[in-house]
């Protein structure tokens, strides 16, 4: 193995920010995903400051206007300004994603740890429940849950809870398998021999090493939550009063938007949703590369 001699003076360490950007330039999907997500966040935040959120609700604008200078994305059949709809809808989507993704990941991490670290009956029970629930199409069960609620009472928060209800199995199984391998590593054995308590080992030894996996699981959960809430909303199970992007597509489709020539109505929310889901999928792929050094590219 050849080692390159380091010239004195050339060895200064680049700053953290530089290193981060250098990593992003290697990990193209993470970079692209983050860029799109930041652009969407900027659109939403600037939008929330500029527009009146009430414009996203019916009867606030002239109806059925095609995109123009006054209404860049047009207005819909019910008199909603679609720019305002996009801003509020994005904000609500982000809320559902973060709340449901956060809860789902938290439950998954806790159950995964308990299952893998303590083993025995708890492990068998948690694993069996996960295995039995996994083949059931979660989205359809969520259809039943959302369908049995009073549609007038469904809020954005209820939506997040419905979405998270059956979505913790994925992170549980991922974290469980990672803890199982990590538990056998030498640094954990050393820690055990030196008399550190179970909680100490979990929080000080294992958890920090799992952070990339937890981050990847979190992004995956956010993706699933956004997707599930979108799916329910397109089926007409969302909080119908709110301008969720899926709701807009549902109402555009029920009013026959394409048949009537109002093409802009479903297009704006569709493109928005594609950008949200696409950026999350790209970030997820990028984090996979970060968490899984075997597929990591060299500099």
């Amino acid at each position: 193995m050849r080692t390159a001699a380091i010239r004195p003076g050339a060895a200064h360490q680049p700053g953290r920010v530089t290193l981060f950007f250098r990593y992003l330039s290697r990990n193209a999907s993470l970079g692209a995903g983050l860029a799109i997500l930041l652009a969407l966040a900027a659109f939403t935040i600037i939008g929330l400051m500029v527009i009146d959120p009430m414009d996203a609700y019916p009867l606030s604008a002239p109806t059925r206007r095609p995109p123009s200078w006054d209404f860049p994305f047009g207005t819909d059949f019910f008199g909603r300004d679609l720019v305002a709809v996009m801003v509020v809808g994005m904000w609500q989507t982000a809320f559902i994603g973060l709340v449901a993704g956060g809860i789902g990941t938290f439950v998954g991490v806790v159950l995964g740890f308990v299952s893998a670290y303590f083993g025995g009956w708890t492990d068998a029970a948690i694993r069996t429940v996960c295995q039995v629930l996994t083949p059931i199409p979660v989205l359809l069960i969520q259809v039943v849950v959302a369908g049995s609620l009073d549609k007038r009472d469904v809020t954005i928060f209820t939506m997040a809870l419905i979405v998270v209800m059956l979505a913790w199995m994925g992170p549980t199984l991922i974290i469980r398998s990672q803890v199982l391998t990590m538990k056998e590593r030498q640094f954990v054995s050393v820690a055990k021999l030196s008399g550190i308590s179970d909680l100490g080992i979990i929080f000080k030894e294992i958890l920090p090493n799992l952070l990339p996996f937890i981050a990847a699981a979190f992004v995956g959960q956010v993706f699933l939550a956004v997707f599930a809430s979108f799916y329910l909303a397109v089926l007409g199970l969302g909080p119908l009063r709110e301008p969720l992007l899926g709701n807009i597509i549902w109402s555009a489709q029920s009013q026959g938007a394409f048949f009537n020539g109002w093409w802009w109505w479903p297009i704006a929310p569709s493109v928005g949703m594609i950008l949200i889901l696409g950026s999350l999928a790209l970030i997820n792929m990028g984090l996979d590369e970060l968490a899984n050094p075997r597929v990591r590219k060299s500099e």
Binding site: Q131, I136, I141, V144, L235, W263, S270, I274, L280
Partner: protein, 353 residues
């Protein structure tokens, strides 16, 4: 004539008596698991709506009352007699046992909205459409995706062919229903090449003629394309990974050193071996494929299960919603179990232990 023993299930060297015992035990375990999945799903679907404060019967009848305007006392009486007639006033556990027994007989009750029809009748009418769409799109996307993925990983393929699959991988994050909206806009609305929805043109009576078949086909292209474009990318990615692993295998090297031509190596040594694990993915993808197909059908107003579900949601027709969900869950779980039994026949390397 010598007695030839029948080929054993997984081609192992165990004696056949011991082997068939193992296989039987395995089949029993898998079927037991299948019933556990169905039981879990049915139980969730039974208890969740009963935890909710909404009474579906009241919901439905107050809607009818709003439209036709009868007195509130009468509404209470109607709800009471309806509940009695359908046994909704009995203890919960009795209802639960009845419910499980009915599910085993595929009896999901009556539709509230289209009353004399039962739920299973509605499903039976719409199912052929959904199965047709699903089978065609799944086979097409499986074939296209795996071929593109295998080429993408094949070092001898020309560069353009290897990069051909990249756009499909990018489409992977786009749910088929959004793909459907974009296709509707560009192909249906802007270019006016294909119809905007429905199973056949309005005013046409279904008949056995070529024009009708063509009309039917034209209406199916966009929904099928939406589903295919959304799922090809997944196959490309997994197949590419599989292909890269297989290239390093000794038997591929050996075939190359024997001087076999590239097409033979690609087809018989590389593709065949990489395809087998992909079959496993077929079962895993089933749930996603079905849920996407349902919503795409709704978007394109095809007369399949998806449209029945959306209409039921719109009309608060709860028995239909629950019936469709249970039916699909059972179907998916059953097909997955069936495929697990088929793998050892396809791939002798997999042994059911």
């Amino acid at each position: 004539m010598a007695k030839v023993p029948p080929p054993s299930f997984s081609g192992s060297t165990r004696t056949s008596g011991e082997h068939s015992f193992m296989t039987l035990k395995l089949i029993a375990r898998r079927i037991g698991f299948l019933f556990m999945v169905i039981w879990a799903a049915s139980t969730i679907i039974f208890f969740v709506p009963r935890l909710s404060p909404v009474n579906p019967v009241r919901e439905r009848f107050s809607e009818i009352a709003r439209l036709s305007g009868f007195a509130p006392e009468d509404l209470e009486k109607i709800i009471e007699s309806f509940s009695k007639q359908f046994g909704l006033d009995r203890p919960l556990w009795e209802q639960y046992i009845d419910y499980l027994w009915n599910i085993m007989r595929f009896d999901f009750g009556f539709s509230l909205n289209r009353y004399p029809s039962t739920v299973i009748e509605l499903i039976a009418q719409s199912l052929p459409w959904t199965i047709g769409l699903l089978v065609v799109t799944t086979i097409l996307s499986f074939v296209i995706g795996n071929l593109l993925g295998a080429i993408a990983a094949w070092p001898r393929a020309p560069r353009w062919a290897r990069n051909f699959s990249t756009p499909f991988v990018l489409f992977m994050g786009v749910p088929p229903v959004l793909m459907g909206v974009l296709l509707l806009f560009f192909v249906g609305f802007r270019l006016k090449l294909l119809p905007l929805g429905g199973a056949y043109s309005i005013g046409v009576v279904p008949n056995w003629s070529w024009e009708f078949a063509l009309d039917l086909l034209r209406h199916q292209i966009l929904p099928a394309l939406a589903l295919i474009l959304g799922s090809v990318g997944g196959w490309v990615l997994t197949m590419r990974g599989m292909g890269i692993t297989i290239q390093g295998e000794d038997y591929v090297n050996f075939a190359e050193h024997k001087g076999l031509n590239g097409v033979t190596i690609f087809r018989d040594y590389y593709l065949r071996n990489a395809l087998l694990p992909q079959m496993t993915g077929l079962a895993l993808a089933l749930g996603t494929v079905v849920t996407s197909a349902i919503i795409v059908e709704g978007l394109f107003a095809l007369p399949g299960v998806g449209t029945v579900l959306i209409n039921a949601i719109r009309a608060n027709d709860f028995p239909v919603i629950y019936g469709i969900v249970i039916f699909i869950t059972i179907a998916i779980a059953a097909i997955m179990t069936l495929m697990e039994f088929l793998y050892p026949l396809l791939d002798p390397r997999i042994k059911n232990e």
